[in-house]
Assembly symmetry: C2
Homo-oligomer: 237 residues x 2
DNA sequence: CCGGATCCGAATCGATACTG
DNA sequence: CAGTATCGATTCGGATCCGG
C-alpha cells in the first residue's frame, strides 16, 4: 500500500510522497485553520469524493501529518500533528505564489470559510500591520462572514455564521467579539484586485467590487495596507 | 483540457493546480539547479514515463512556470521562468520538511546529481557558514560527484563527471575548479544521519557511512556545521 | 446528522514500443 | 535528441448505501 514510489532518496521526493497526492494539501490547508470533523472537511472541499477524503486522511495519518482525536461525547476531529503544522509557512508561501496566477473565478468556483481564512493569512503583512493602529473588521464574501482583528503583528480571524456568532468556540481561531467591528464590508471575488494592488479601495467601491455595510469607510485603506500580495512576493515565513 | 479543477477560488488551490500533478514538482526541483534538456530530465527522473514528462512540461509551460529555449545548433533546453524560480524557497522548505521523515532508502531508490545538489541547498546553513572560513569539498555519493564550494554565505555546487570535469559549462552552477578541493570524501545514503545531527562525522567514519578519500579530514566537522537540518526547521527562507 | 464503506464508469498513469 | 502512440493497470470521481 506504500504509494507509488518516485524511486528517489531525497527530501523533496519524500515530502511529495507525503502530501503530494490529489487533495492532500487542501486538506492540510483547512486543518491549518483548526481541527475539523470529517463532515466539516467535506463541506470545506465540496468537490472531494468522500472515498478520497477518507483515503487521504488515512495516508496523512500514516505519514504523521494528521491525527484523529476523539472528542468527549461530541464525535471526533482531525488535527495536524506538530510535524504537520510545520507546513504552515510552506502552505502560506504557496498561497502567495498561486495568488499571482489566479485569474477570474470559474463559474462554479466557490469560496469557503477556511480557504478565505488562509488567504487572509497569506496576504497578511505583519511588518505593515506593526506600524498601524489596531483594527477590527467584519468581512462578508459570498456566504462567508469573517471577523478579522489586527493588533500590531497579531492577526486573529473568526468564522461567523450569518447570524454573527462564531461557528464553534472549540474550533477555529478565537477572537474577541464583545465590541462591534469598526468596519463591516462586503466584497466579491474582485477583492483579489485590491489585495494585489491593482485597485485602490476607492476604485473598488466605484467598480462595485466592494461595498461598505457599516462603520468607518476610511479603514479600508488600512485594510489594503495590512493585506497585500505584491508580485514576486512568495517569500518568507 | 483545463486540468480537473478543485472548484475553489483560492491561491493555494491555484498553486496546486499549477504544480500539484504527479512529478511536476520534481521537474521543478531539477530545473532549479539549472536549465535541462528533455533527456537530462528523463535521466534525472529515471522512473518518469516519457509521455508524462512530455505532458508535464507542456502544462508547466501553459502555467507560466517553465519555458522552452532553443539553443543555437545544440538542441533545446527547458528552464524556469522568473515566476517558476519564485518556487525555490518553497521547494527548499519542502525538502527540509520531507528530510525529517526520510527513512532508510528503499532497495531501488536512486540518488541523482540534481536531487543531491538540491538536498545540499536545503541543508545549507548560511548563518553558520558565515561564521566559518571558506571551504572547498569534493563529495562522492553513489555515482554522483559534486564539487561544493562555500565562501561565507555563498554556496556553489558543480556536478562533475567521474573524470573530474564539469558536465556542461553552460548548465548548472559554476564553480572555480582550478585548485584541488581541500577535502574529498565519499559517502552512502547514511550521510543523512550526519546532516540530521544523529551522527558526528567521527561516528560516521567509524560506522563506514563516510570515508575520506584525500585532503584534510578535520574539515568534515566544518562540513557538518555548514550542512545541517534540525527537527522542526522547515521554515521558508 | 456523523463517519465513513462500496461499487462502477471515466480519466490518468506507467511501461513499452516506435518515429522524425 | 525529443518526443508520440498504444494499451493495460491504477486512481479518481460520482453516486449510493450502511451502521451508529
Amino acid at each position: 500500500m506504500a504509494s507509488r514510489s518516485y524511486g528517489q532518496y531525497c527530501g523533496v521526493t519524500t515530502a511529495v510522497e507525503l502530501i503530494g497526492e490529489r487533495w492532500a494539501l487542501l486538506i492540510v490547508r483547512d486543518l491549518l485553520v483548526g481541527p475539523r470533523r470529517y463532515t466539516d472537511l467535506k463541506q470545506g472541499l465540496p468537490k472531494i469524493p468522500t472515498n478520497i477524503l477518507s483515503t487521504r486522511l488515512k495516508e496523512l495519518q500514516e505519514g504523521g501529518v494528521v491525527r484523529r482525536v476523539p472528542l468527549l461525547h461530541c464525535g471526533l476531529v482531525y488535527e495536524l500533528t506538530p510535524y504537520g503544522r510545520e507546513l504552515e509557512p510552506i502552505v502560506l508561501a504557496l498561497g502567495r505564489w498561486g495568488f499571482q496566477q489566479m485569474g477570474e473565478p470559474q463559474p462554479d468556483d466557490v469560496v469557503t470559510a477556511d480557504s478565505l481564512t488562509m488567504a487572509l493569512r497569506t496576504a497578511f503583512r505583519a511588518d505593515a500591520a506593526a506600524t498601524l493602529p489596531p483594527a477590527d473588521y467584519e468581512l462578508h464574501i459570498a456566504d462567508v462572514v469573517l471577523r478579522v482583528q489586527v493588533d500590531a503583528s497579531d492577526l486573529r480571524i473568526a468564522q461567523l455564521e450569518p447570524a454573527g456568532r462564531p461557528v464553534d468556540p472549540r474550533l477555529g481561531t478565537q477572537a474577541t467579539l464583545e465590541a462591534a467591528p469598526a468596519l463591516t464590508f462586503a466584497a466579491g471575488p474582485g477583492i483579489r484586485r485590491v489585495i494585489s494592488g491593482e485597485l485602490t479601495p476607492a476604485e473598488a467601491i466605484d467598480q462595485e467590487v466592494l461595498a461598505v455595510v457599516s462603520g468607518d469607510a476610511t479603514l479600508l485603506e488600512r485594510f489594503a495596507q495590512t493585506f497585500s500580495i505584491e508580485p514576486g512576493a512568495a517569500l518568507v515565513a
